[in-house]
């Protein structure tokens, strides 16, 4: 899987690179509009992470070029301008998703994985984690063919872990993913704990392995041995 990171903030581009590299993605960084334009014209990518505000040009223009060249690369817009107009115009121009800064790398990872899954495994709506099978279309989870009765939050949690498997996901990232900006504060950590406890119990009862580990009370990690 090939990714292009179009981001002129080197520190941020490096973080994204390191995080996504772990998930068997081949990442390239384009630190400018012109650099990105060159790469886009030469290669095809599974997903392009596109910052809108570049020093030497507008990311939306890149998106237009991409679409007028009939490229099918997936595009995730990253923007410091969290405005509905940007979001609407980006999605209208054919971007797959929009993520405002600042974001958690796990959120980015999940969005990228979702875009690639939608683009590539056309028709395949399933994610397999050993004996666990997630049906994204039906929003259902089965262990060895047996369906689990998960709540909405538990399902969202499992999918989030699946997209970030093998990496530590912080509680803050989980809280933001599940509740958005709605209820801030440390209160959320208690709810997360409850939901994860229930999810693990349900998976265990269905006979699945215990893949979700707590990491020093700071986050969680799903590892498939």
């Amino acid at each position: 899987m090939k990714l292009l990171i179009v981001e002129d903030e080197k520190a941020l581009a490096d973080s994204i690179y390191s995080y996504l590299q772990q998930e068997n993605f081949v990442c390239e960084i384009a630190p400018s509009y012109t650099g990105a334009l060159e790469k886009i014209e030469q290669y095809d990518y599974d997903c392009i992470l596109l910052d809108i505000n570049l020093q030497d040009g507008n990311g939306l223009q890149l998106l237009k070029t991409l679409k007028s060249n009939h490229k099918t690369d997936g595009v995730l817009i990253i923007s410091a301008r969290n405005s509905l107009e940007d979001k609407v115009s980006g999605l209208h121009l054919g971007a797959d998703d929009y993520l405002p800064k600042p974001f958690h790398l796990s959120e980015l990872g999940a969005r990228v994985a979702a875009i690639i899954r939608r683009r590539h495994s056309a028709g395949s709506n399933f994610i397999r984690l050993e004996d666990i099978q997630i049906d994204i279309q039906a929003r259902s989870v089965a262990v060895s063919g047996r369906f689990l009765d998960l709540t909405r939050k538990e399902y969202q949690l499992l999918l989030y872990f699946a997209y970030n498997k093998g990496r530590v996901v912080s509680k803050n990232a989980i809280a933001e993913h599940l509740w958005g900006d709605d209820t801030g504060g440390a209160d959320n950590y208690d709810f997360i704990y409850t939901h994860i406890k229930n999810l693990r119990r349900k998976l265990e009862e269905a006979g699945a392995g215990d893949y979700i580990q707590s990491v020093y009370g700071m986050g969680y990690k799903l590892t498939i041995p």
Partner: protein
Amino acid sequence: MLGSIGYYFIVRSVLIHELDDALKVEEAEILSHVHSLDELPEPSSYRDQQISFAPAATPVRRQFINITRWEHHRHDETQPYRQLLFPVTVKGKVYTASVTKSEEETEDLLEWIMLVTAGMIIILLGILFMANRLLLRRIWQPFYQTLEGLRRFDLTKKESIAHTPTSIEEFRDLQTAVEQMTEKIRKDYEMLRDFTDNASHEMQTPLAIINSKLDLMIQDQELKEKHHRQLQAMYDAVGRLRTLNQSLLLLTKIENNQFAQAAPVDLEILIEKKLIQLEDPIRVKHLNITTDVQPCELQMNAYLTDILLNNLLGNAIRHNYDRGALDIVLRQEFLRISNTGAALPFDPATIFDRFTKGGHSEGTGLGLAIVKQICDNYGHVLTYSYEENQHVLRIQFTPPMTGTGRPSEFRQNAVLGLSHE
């Protein structure tokens, strides 16, 4: 006043001068009589003119004098007279001749002149006053328009002050000055707004970098538990900065009226949905929720309505006791959310101000400021009270004006609604 006194004296002196001329004519007649006949003329005494002669030791100095005499036949009133005294020499004897003329006529004349003049002036003033009122109203119309425009001037609205073209230079100057001033104020205001906007936006990227570095750091398996605790504190701090930043941006956007698109929103359904969304914190705090809701449809922006309910209910949950109560009453005219909780640690009058919060609150202190701003934008009235250990927040809705909600707004909103999915 001074003018009229002056006028009186001028007219009077003119009239006296006339009188003196008449006296001089008499004098000339007497002198020519004496000269040609060398004898005194008959003294005469008419009602308005008396001539008399009196022997004198020495020639009297020729002079005009004012005298007053008692008039017996006129109720003992004093009457003013003008008298000319001059020396006459007849057959070697010196006489003092006096010609006296009553000033009564002059006074009468003066009175009439003053009366007529005063009358004319009053009539003129009256006409002037009426003409002024009519004319002024027309001439000053541009001025009053500008004044009214200034009174209605609203910085947050893009409308400029309307002017009707006028040929009066002063008003044109005023209009230009007002225009330039409002333009400058607006520019300054926009600059300030843009500053908040830009500052907040510029902060997003560094925050994103910190956040991403933290996300990377926790992947490190060699970290000790004490590091994790520090990292967690950093995460929380960045999270708070992020929320703060977003709240500030949201406030500016609401102030800028960037959420103008309005559509009918059903508060009853939205409250129900919000309570489901907030079920986790409600469950953890074991809150007792009572709802007494009736259908209520408002013309509002969907996103802002969501924020409004979120902040109000979020507050009512966060600042509640364990096993406390949260009551929601919704009517067509108002929404009332009350919750148990300790009295405010600050002045209740400042509750809607920015950055007002209890010392240990994790919130940004902007939640209710945002609610207030949203209510202000729609003309809803937000009030707070503390009754029987309950915090009560009440929104009195303003009925929407008829004719709002153009079709284009609905369409735009539909697009935005889709993008939220």
